[in-house]
Amino acid sequence: MIEVRDIAREFRRPRQVHGPLGGLRTFFTREVDIVHAVSNVSFSIDAGEVVGYLGANGAGKSTTIKMLSGILVPTSGTITVNGLVPWEDREANALNIGVVFGQRTQLWWDLPLIDSLRIIAKLYRMETAHYERNLARLDELLELTPFLDTPVRQLSLGQRMRGDLTAAMLYEPKILYLDEPTIGLDVVAKERMRGFIERVNQESGTTIMLTTHDLADVERLTKRIIFIDKGLVLFDGPVAELKHRYAPYRELHVTLAPNGDQPELPQMPGIIDIEETPGRLEIRFDPATIAVADLIAAVVASHPVTDLAIVEPALESVVREIVQSGEVRR
């Protein structure tokens, strides 16, 4: 569905000149600063996949999405989306895709939401019956009725996002690009948004590419992650593999009896780190070196344990680790 080969995108901006007449000199200067937003990215996405596109701020996520949707032309490399080159066959490509930018709306600011939806239907050449059927379905999923007649500028952020999602899904695009779709939303609104994305993918088979800072979005919605940093792909694969590769450890969380002793644990191979607070132990260990049963036995033998839990590392901390170390592990 989506084929990306060796794309790069650099931005040139005239170097700011300071001093007398700096503004004018900046305007005419030929010196430029070159920023490599995306250096070399390749991946392919099959129809019906949901892919989380992750990376730190400035890693090149938005730039990639913009190239995929035909907003930016890559400096080099090729992209085909459903057989089309997005920036060359822009209008044909537009019919295949829906785009939601969490921080911006594509709705008509001064008009009631329903007007924007009607205009969208017209722009995407929809038959009236088709439009009404789709709107009814989206209304059912996103509960739009209460604010369909409200001008967009008066909508709350959550309502506006629902409106934007409706606008993007109204014409049933084959592909949906979501750039930070849950940014700024409260917990309830986020949950509604995730439920919606999940259903759209399951019921219509829509291919979805999602950038987000909220890793709960990813854990809930996607099986596959593409992780980029400094314009390069660091990882492309299942969520579980990312965790396995970057965080091949587990944690044993131990709650101790109140006022009990807290002696040192005996040295054992396979224990990576122990974090000790009064009444609590967090032991990070490598399950390949030490059996969980042995570890628990050792802890129980020396400590008054009231509760035990084995915890998988959260994606959040995995990602933090990757970004901080900034290195590729194969």
């Binding site: 007449l21 700096g22 503004g23 004018l24 305007f27």
Partner: protein, 268 residues
Amino acid sequence: MSFVANIPAWRELIRASIRFQFMYRFSVIMGILLAGVTIYLLTVVWTSAYAGQDEVGGIPLKLMLVYLTISNLQSWYLKPGIGFDIVDRVREGQIGFDLTRPVSYPSQLIATAAGDQLGMLPMVVVALPVAAVLGELAAPPSWQAGVGYLASFIIAWFIAVELAMIIGLVAFWTLEMTGFMMVYNLVGGFATGALVPLWFMPDLLRQAVQLLPFQSIVYVPVSIYIGIPATGSMYTAMALQVFWAVVLAGVIAIVWKRALYRTVIQGG
């Protein structure tokens, strides 16, 4: 709040707005070129209208061209942006901050306008040769006329600031002012006498223009400069300007009080 205690605050505003002017040098230079374009057009149009006659209605062509050059140079220089500032700040809700400062808002505006004007001053050095090449420049006929012009010019600046402020204050009642601004700029532009001096206007129009404050911004000072002062003598001409400065200050006081009431009591 005492006058002296406010001086540091005003000085800082003047500085800030000088810096701002420097940041926008490119549009300033564009502004000079545009003024030059207008000066050149008026020179050509009036020369063509004179059609070879040395003088019309007692006004020699050369004097006419000096009038047009000086008055358009001055219109370019005297364009207080504070009217737009007020509109922007009211629209973005920042006016609240301005109102909470311990210096009255109108005086903040005047300080800002003064900074704008001083920041633009170096640009006059660029503008003068442009005007001299494209139009016609000449020294005033006597040193008295020169000094009189400078005095009259300062009052003119004050009136221009006052008018801009009144327009800007309207933003407290309605935010959509594009149309209003346009009327002001154009009727204002024409009624200042920058395009046609009052002596060439048909009687009825001239009488109407003489009843408005706009002529005090351009026509009055420039007429002093070229040595044929409005109202016959430069002292009465300046008295007329002072009269308008005081009247407009009164208008601002009233409008400002109501605007403040509206914002504070009813919420912006």
